[in-house]
Amino acid sequence: MQFFRFAITRAFLAMITLIMVSLIVFSLMELVPGDCAERYLAFKSSQGGAITIADIDAERVRLGLDRPYLVRWGSWIFNAFQGEFGNSCILRVNIAQLLGDKFWISLWICLASLFVAYLIAIPVGIISATSKSPWANNSLRFVSYLGLALPNFLLALMIMLFSTVYFGDTLTGLFSKEFRDAAWSYERVMDFLSRAWLPVFILAWSATAFAIQTVRALMSDEVGKLYVTAAAARGVSGRRLLWRYPARHSLGPIINSLGFDLNRIFNELPIVALILTLTEAGSLLIEALALSNDQQLAGAIIFMLTASIVAINFVTDIILALTDPRVRRSILG
């Protein structure tokens, strides 16, 4: 019951965050010069149609853009919570349909990268924090810094070009040509997996570098604590000492930061997507955000990305409350 109340409170706070986010995103999209009506008609005029101010005004009324700012925001957020973002400014199709699978594929690729990053970072970070050899320590440090200094778009590019030259396959896209528009099937899944590893690897590249730094710093802190010495004094040793004591106790802050790690990956997704021409995933983002000036679509995408971060934060809060007795007791009393 207590726990239920805690979960409800957290969910409520997550909602508030999301509403605040939506206000920020919506306002920024409003600040951008020109609105949806102008943009569409400008687009139309470039197709050859003549337009007048009256046309634009009529379009505004049709789109409801003449209503007050807060009312528009209210209706936008109300619809957004139901997964309905209206029509794209330019493409004139329903955004929810337009995004469809694409958003989920992108999200899963990012989550997979996050998973891979920590899969590598946790053991490496622990080794680098506890290893006694300065050589191993320094080289791990250097490698993890290289992960920062060699940006992943560059890495993506190099891998792609390398494979073009030596394998004749660009490795771009998430599906081979024959599966691009096919319905989901076993073969399509396999094809997807055979190609998805590259974006996952590339997105995980600098995420891993960051994660190693986090794990290393946390572990170095924990290893020096008295309770680890005390456990060693009781005869706990080796891997058991490492995993059950410092590693377990540095898990909390790691879980806590997962949401922000995901955020960082989202930050890199569009660029990587552009290079790997992941039309199914992030490059729609780029198209919407950067190329077509479609504020309705851009707002929807950013809102959904943020919503997934808020969701992750909510889940990690709950996990933390379940796994850390200190947090658990402070909730349950």
Binding site: A149, G259, N263, L289, I302
Partner: protein
């Protein structure tokens, strides 16, 4: 005799100790920083790169924009200065003259013929392209060649000198980073400072706000904003706009750090001691809070710097950031996306090396400073 030497040793020892005892924060940090080889190497490289960036117009022979291009040497390979060849040696380093042709026979690729007999000798402090430095016009460059042009790193698709472009790009990237860091820092100082100094509900509200901003994926959001940058904007406006965007991306993390420093520092006993003397908020901030966290703030700034450079690069890379004639490392990296470049004109990767070195140098210096920034950590029991 032996006695005097030992006495001398004792005196030296005493002096060394007294120097340590009277060393202020800066000196202690420097002493600790000096011990870290990696950070010192990084600092050396960083200083060289920063100077190279600042004095790029003088150090490089040509204008980095289209104005300084060498029409006759498009996609030209780097010229490596030599002292000796089959025709004998020379005290002055020289490069060869190139003749380039392309025709249907060569598949319309440029074919370069080296004319080993026509040496171009390096000259120092020649007059060349006009540039502005500190508001004044100059035409003197560090080096050039007596006839024709020299391209140490080769040229790009339009014949622009990659050497000149790289150095200018370092300058631009550093400038964007500096402005970005500055904006982030001012915002962080105001918001984190208010939050940390006043605490209570103001702190809670500002924390909620900071966390909200932190959940928004900044780059996609600003990509969206950057997309609405009118094409009519001048390159300077774009430059400022990008810097501002980077500043707005960076502030929440910095603000959190400022706040944490302030909160811990505010509760120190020596701050209470000052307050019990009736010290005003201004005195406490000036004498205690600022000196205590400037070192941390500098560390944070240096650590966040490479991310600014990286973000700028990323934005410019997808064509949303800076554009010619302003060129940054991101613009330079964009050039290597062409498969043709990878296969045939690999010298375009030289700026990539500079970029990696720059970021690595920053990271190592930041790391070393972080370890050195709290010289009092181990004196507290």
């Amino acid at each position: 005799m032996t006695n005097t030497t030992t006495n001398g040793d004792v005196n030296v020892d005493q002096k060394r100790k007294e120097a340590y005892f009277t060393a202020g924060q800066g000196q202690l940090i420097w002493a600790r920083f000096k011990k870290q080889t990696a950070a010192m190497v990084g600092a050396g490289i960083l200083i060289v790169l920063i100077l190279a960036g600042i004095f790029a117009p003088f150090l490089t022979p040509y204008d980095p924009t289209i104005d300084g291009r060498n029409k006759d040497y498009v996609y030209g390979a780097p010229n490596v200065p030599k002292f000796c060849d089959d025709n004998g040696c020379s005290f002055r380093p020289f490069v060869y003259t190139f003749n380039r042709t392309r025709s249907i026979a060569t598949n319309f690729r440029w074919v370069t013929e080296v004319d080993k007999d026509a040496r171009r000798y390096l000259t120092f402090l020649p007059e060349g392209d006009k540039y502005k430095f500190l508001g004044m016009n100059f035409t003197t460059h560090l080096f050039g060649v007596d006839t024709g042009k020299i391209h140490l790193f080769g040229t790009d698709s339009t014949g622009k000198d990659i050497f000149s472009r790289t150095f200018h790009a370092i300058n631009t990237s550093l400038a964007v980073g500096t402005i970005g860091v500055f904006i982030a820092f001012v915002l962080a100082l105001i918001i984190g400072g208010i939050s940390g100094y006043y605490g209570g509900w103001i702190d809670s509200a500002l924390q909620m706000m900071t966390d909200t901003v932190r959940t928004i994926p900044a780059i996609p959001l600003f990509m969206a904003l950057a997309a609405f940058m009118p094409d009519t904007w001048s390159s300077e406006t774009r430059f400022l706009f990008i810097s501002m965007i980077l500043g707005f991306v960076g502030w929440p993390t910095l603000a959190r750090r400022v706040r944490t420093h302030l909160l811990t520092e505010r509760n120190q006993e020596y701050v209470l001691a000052a307050q019990l003397c009736g010290a005003s908020a201004g005195h406490v901030i000036r004498r205690h809070l600022l000196p205590s966290f400037t070192s941390y703030i500098i560390v944070d700034l240096i650590i966040s710097f490479p991310y600014m450079v990286l973000s700028e690069t990323a934005l410019s890379f997808i064509g949303l950031g800076l554009k010619d004639p302003v060129n940054s490392l991101g613009v330079m990296l964009q050039n290597v996306t062409d498969p043709d470049v990878l296969l045939n004109y690999q010298w375009h990767f030289i700026p990539v090396l500079f970029f990696i070195t720059l970021v690595l140098a920053f990271v190592f210096v930041g790391d070393g400073l972080r370890d050195a920034a709290d010289p009092y950590a181990d004196t507290k029991k």
